[in-house]
């Protein structure tokens, strides 16, 4: 693909610039990169009727054999949701979602009780194999425990026994409802209340599955934990819910990956993630999001409306979000930290890449409540094609957040003159003894840099990809090893040839 | 020479000083006495507490004295504000002089000089008289008048910042000057200028504490005493030959010393 050399001209001021035709061709080339996770698994699924009402919610709850408090939680959330309005402050342009035209529960048909992975439908195992997430005993990844979620349900979780040996609970949230009901009842909805926002309320009413992690006091989780979300059906929404609790002095690194087949309709994904860190605990949550983004014309793709929030409840606790967002037609996502505990730390590292007609509105909220709390925000947005890429963030210093600090850096890179990059930080302080610093810049890959690299014999596309990954370096450095390589690859794949 | 000095009263007495910042103990029992005319050198590795000691003597608000006391001219100054200490004659030459954008160097020097003069019951100087005085002192550190119109330390090179510190010392005529790594970041010419400035300013009534890593400043200004600090304590005191010895042996022996005790 693509062109390995570029015509470089000098204008009369001796500035270098590229031939416009070449640029345009390159941009066209990029866009053609196919979505390689777009296949559909042909499997018999159990789906309930379309639409949303109290009966549907009762049905979901009944299918999952839930205790009464959970059904009440769902119904209460539903009542609130009915009274709420879909938010429009992000100014995202999309066709109105018909919430009655969505299937809220869809699960591959399997035998009633699965005692080992070998009993999982081979088609499902094959699906995850193809996605690079082998689950079977022979092939499974050696250093990561995986919870695989297919449409509305969790298929399998690897390394459960090994983890249990350390007292770590890692299972689907449906299972946790049965086996660790006390923890669910105590923590569910305490970080993201059902009434928090429109999509969180919807999720609270209809969530089907997701992961549950509990790290007991003093335990450093021996391996990375990972959930892999796969949307397969075109007409069902995915509403997963993740809850991670890190007890005193414990730590965990959690990874999340997402893909979906190509459909020409839009699929709704409205997840809720809640993290809780107690004294001296640390949670690192990394996401590589590669949901199907729709085609060049903007047809199809996932609507990704996600509420992710962590509560640094304990002293010196730390929650770190890192994300690489490359997929979805629309991303609406603000992983946030509530910094309550004294000296707690919140971090947000993000790369968001948009192309074609994608829209990404992402950022974070750092709410400093306790004294001496610290937060760092590093956001890198790359917009190509006709896409819109916005950083939206809030940093707030409450009246008691004495001695607290925030540093934010938001950089945008524009590729082509049709893409747009916006930065909407909101900074609020009520505490004089605190410091907030925000910086943002916009740039493009300069011809000088390109020429310099090319003059050292580096091919054009290689040079682009070097510069993009250099631009994202600060964020990639925060990702776990396996993810960093994957993210780098993903970006260069997405961008191949797109720059001029 | 020593016995003659001891007839006078000490300028500075640091007595079994313990101090911490953010509940982290930094000084763990430092004692030090400086008489008029004496030059003391404090040496030690980075992080041994020598810069902290200088900041505490100057009254930096981030540090808490948890035990012990600092006496200046016989008076306990533990609870004095930094400006009160400066007005009464304690001078701290900063390792990293602070840049203050927007505040003119001349104005800054004039306000501080007058604050000291007021304390000494001397007449405060108006702009005109002050400029005369500054011009005279600029000679000492071979600084150009252009520095006066710039913002305090802003855009100054490392050497210029250090010379600006010595200029302030010359204007404030302190009773004791603590010079924190005044030699760091200076080339040999700049070092000579700074050293000769210090020598010209000091006299039989002034005490000087030189905080340094290296021997080379001490080649220019010979100390009466050399103290070696490690882990918040003075672990050895000697004459100027101790500095030479330290230069040869390196600081490793201070680690060994700590391990033994």
């Amino acid at each position: 693909m693509g062109v390995s050399f570029v015509k470089v001209y000098k204008d009369n001021c001796n500035r270098l610039f590229l031939d416009n035709m070449v640029k345009e061709n390159l941009v066209k080339d990029v866009v053609k990169e196919p979505y390689k996770y777009g296949f559909i698994t042909d499997i018999e699924t159990e789906k309930i009727a379309k639409g949303l009402n109290e009966d549907i919610i009762r049905l979901i709850s009944q299918k999952k054999e839930e205790p009464k408090y959970l059904l009440d939680f769902r119904l209460k959330a539903f009542k609130k949701w009915q009274k709420m309005e879909e938010p429009d402050w992000a100014g995202l342009g999309y066709k109105k979602i018909d919430y009655q035209d969505i299937i809220y529960y869809s699960a591959p048909k399997q035998k009633e009780k699965i005692s080992s992975l070998d009993e999982v439908d081979p088609k499902l195992l094959e699906t995850f194999d193809k996605l690079g997430i082998p689950l079977t005993e022979q092939k499974k990844l050696t250093n990561v425990a995986v919870d695989a979620v297919f449409d509305s349900v969790s298929i399998a979780t690897t390394f459960r026994e090994e983890l249990a040996g350390h007292g770590v609970i890692f299972c689907s949230i449906s299972e946790a409802v049965k086996t660790h009901s006390d923890l669910i009842e105590k923590y569910l909805g305490t970080v993201v209340p059902a009434s928090d926002n429109y999509f969180a309320a919807l999720n609270s009413a209809v969530f089907s599955d997701g992961s549950f992690v509990y790290i007991p006091k003093g335990v450093k989780c021996p391996m990375d934990l990972s959930s892999y979300f796969r949307i397969n059906s075109g007409d069902s929404g995915q509403f997963e819910r993740t809850l991670i609790i890190a007890e005193e002095s414990s730590s965990v690194s959690y990874l999340e990956g997402c893909t979906a087949p190509m459909f020409d309709t839009n699929t709704l994904h409205a997840a809720v993630v809640e993290l809780i860190a107690l004294d001296d605990a640390s949670i690192k949550y990394s996401t590589v999001q590669n949901w199907y983004a729709g085609d060049e014309e903007g047809v199809g793709g996932i609507f990704n409306f996600v509420t992710k929030r962590g509560k640094c409840l304990g002293k010196r606790s730390k929650i770190s979000w890192s994300q690489v967002e490359t997929g979805s037609a629309i991303t609406w996502k603000y992983p946030s930290c509530l910094l309550l505990g004294e000296e707690s730390v919140g971090e947000f590292y993000s790369v968001a890449l948009t192309n074609n007609l994608q829209q990404a509105d992402t950022g974070t909220k750092m709410i400093h409540i306790g004294p001496k709390t610290k937060s760092t925000i590093v956001s890198k947005g790359i917009s190509a094609g006709n896409s819109i890429n916005s950083y939206r963030g809030l940093v707030k210093m409450g009246t008691k957040a004495t001695g607290s600090r925030n540093y934010s850096q938001c950089d945008s890179m524009l590729i082509g003159d049709q893409a747009s990059a916006n930065t909407f930080p909101y900074i609020k302080s009520q505490q004089p003894n605190s410091d907030i610093e925000h910086e943002a810049s916009t740039c493009r890959i300069s011809e000088d840099q390109l020429f310099y690299l090319q003059s050292r014999g580096i091919e054009f596309e290689e040079a682009i990809s070097m510069m993009v990954s250099g631009f994202c370096r600060d964020v990639f450095n925060q990702l776990p090893m396996e993810f960093a390589a994957e993210a780098d690859k993903l970006l260069s794949l997405k961008l191949e040839g797109s720059v001029g | 020479m020593q016995s003659k000095m001891k007839e006078s009263y000490p300028i500075l007495e640091v007595d079994n000083l313990f101090a911490s910042t953010d509940n982290l103990p930094i000084l763990k029992g430092v004692s030090l006495t400086v008489y008029p005319g004496e030059i003391h050198a404090i040496m030690g590795r980075n992080g041994c507490g020598k810069s902290t000691l200088s900041k505490i003597i100057a009254g930096h608000p981030s540090y808490n004295i948890t035990n012990g006391e600092i006496k200046f001219s016989g008076e306990n100054i533990n609870s004095l504000e930094p400006e009160e200490r400066a007005q009464s004659g304690i001078f701290l030459g900063f390792q990293y002089p602070i840049e203050i954008p927007g505040v003119s160097n001349l104005e800054f020097l004039r306000v501080s000089t007058n604050a000291r003069r007021k304390f000494l019951n001397k007449e405060e100087l108006d702009t005109f008289d002050f400029e005369e005085l500054v011009k005279e002192k600029l000679e000492l550190v071979k600084m150009d008048q252009a520095f006066l119109s710039r913002s305090v330390n802003q855009g100054f090179s490392g050497g210029e910042k250090k010379r600006n510190e010595i200029l302030q010392m010359a204007l404030l005529e302190p009773k004791i000057a603590i010079l924190d790594e005044t030699d760091s970041g200076l080339d040999i010419d700049a070092l000579r200028i700074v050293a000769s400035g210090i020598k010209k300013i000091s006299n039989a009534q002034t005490g000087i504490i030189l905080i340094t890593h290296y021997q080379r400043l001490l080649d220019e200004i010979e100390p009466n005493y050399v103290h070696v600090m490690a882990d918040g304590q003075i672990i050895k005191t000697g004459g100027s030959d101790l500095a030479v010895e330290l230069e040869k042996k390196g600081y490793e022996w201070t680690d060994n010393f700590l391990q033994q005790t």
């Binding site: 003159d417 930065t423 410091d435 943002a440 | 400006e83 203050i100």
Partner: protein, 405 residues
């Protein structure tokens, strides 16, 4: 909407002009300011509503100039006072716009208003009678400095409008002084049109007394190769809103803005700016500083819009804020919206207190904490104030004002 009711009930607008009628109608037909737009402006509702608590005053009572004219050549005008001006000199001319010209221009402006954004201007034009609208056409070279005063009188709502056409190749120094009075509101809208190669050094100094309110709106349209420099200072208002809207209509223009707002007691002062680059090679350097003490609230919201047509725009916006008290509050929202790829845009925001290391450094030189703080504050102010085109003696006035309390 309560505010609209207040306007309707304000019987004092008698014999409204056509423009007043149009604006009143616009205000009444759409419920403005709408709650959503006020939400992002973070206005304190009761303070905001207080702006319209007074009845309209169309007379311009005499007032005492805050400082004497420093030079004979300075041209000094007070909006609302009989100020017929027609200066035709060898090098330059300053003339009042004819009624026709003025009507035509204002009508054109109104047609481009965004109801949400130009609410203050609509209000201003619906209240401002012909007598309180000053329109000037300026041409030529070596023009003496111009000072324009706008003032409120106690217990009333005062609306004043200024329109200036600056012809090609013309450079002026313009100082606008807006004076609030005890328990009063002042609505000042200013429209500046800068033709090719013209430049304005514009100073805006607004200060009030106890219980003064201010709605101050500046609209600037810049033609190519024009340069607009604005230095502004707002302080001592119960409630003040300062809006700056600049449009570089074909790009290739320069804009420099340095603004400062100081709030004390329970005051609220906000600055909203919108810079629209409507062509290539635009330049913006903007800094907004605020200082909030006591129980006050300072707000800044700035937006920079760079559409596709505005290639090679170079824009920078900085919001620097000092929060000096536990009960004070600062909100800042600098925003970038960019579609063009070959641009250099950046923004930054900081909220902090006085720099402790700097304070300590000065204190080790014998300067008292109070003095050191003052030195720091005055250096903080200086960058802005030195950008306001004012002469030395007025400097003293500002110094005195800033050092009050």
């Amino acid at each position: 909407m309560e505010i609209i009711e207040k306007i309707k009930n304000n019987k004092l607008i008698d014999n409204p002009t056509e423009i007043q009628k149009i604006c009143l109608h616009k205000l009444q037909s759409s419920p403005l300011p709408n709650p959503k737009s006020e939400l992002w402006r973070l206005s304190n509702k009761s303070k905001f509503s207080n702006v319209l608590d007074y009845s309209v005053n169309q007379k311009g009572p005499k007032f005492d100039m805050p400082y004497p004219k420093n030079s004979q050549s300075t041209i000094r005008l007070t909006i609302g006072e009989e100020c017929h001006i027609k200066l035709i000199k060898e090098n330059y001319s300053i003339q009042q716009l004819s009624e026709d010209e003025l009507d035509k221009y204002i009508n054109k402006q109104i047609s481009c208003f965004d109801q949400n954004e130009n609410w203050s201007d609509l209000l201003n034009l619906s209240l401002s009678c012909a007598k309180n609208i000053l329109g000037l056409k300026i041409n030529g070279s070596k023009i003496p400095p111009i000072e324009i005063f706008s003032h409120a009188s106690s217990n009333s709502l005062n609306a004043k409008t200024l329109v200036i056409f600056l012809e090609k190749n013309c450079n002026i120094e313009l100082l606008q002084v807006n004076l609030g009075k005890d328990k009063s509101s002042l609505s000042q809208s200013t429209f500046l049109s800068l033709k090719e190669n013209s430049s304005v050094n514009h100073g805006v100094v607004s200060y009030g007394e106890e219980g003064s309110n201010l709605l101050n709106s500046i609209n600037v349209i810049q033609q190519k190769n024009s340069e607009y420099n604005l230095g502004s200072l707002h302080f001592k208002f119960n409630y003040a809103r300062f809006e700056i809207r600049i449009k570089q209509s074909v790009g290739n223009a320069k804009t420099n803005i340095k603004g400062m707002q100081i709030t004390k007691k329970d005051e609220q002062i906000s600055t909203y700016t919108k810079i629209d680059f409507n062509g290539p090679n635009g330049f913006l350097d903007q800094i907004n500083k605020s200082l909030a003490d006591d129980k006050s609230h300072a707000i800044f919201a700035g937006s920079i819009i760079v559409p596709k047509i505005a290639q090679k725009t170079d824009a920078s916006q900085l919001s620097r804020n000092l929060l000096l008290s536990n009960l004070a509050q600062i909100d800042t929202k600098p925003q970038l919206e960019i579609i063009a790829d070959d641009v250099k845009c950046k923004h930054g925001a900081t909220i902090s207190q006085l720099n402790e290391e700097e304070l300590f450094y000065m204190r080790t030189r014998g300067i008292t904490l109070a003095e050191a703080s003052k030195l720091q504050l005055s250096s903080y102010f200086k960058e802005i104030i030195s950008f306001i085109p004012v002469s030395k003696d007025r400097w003293d006035l500002l110094d005195k004002l800033l050092n009050e309390n």
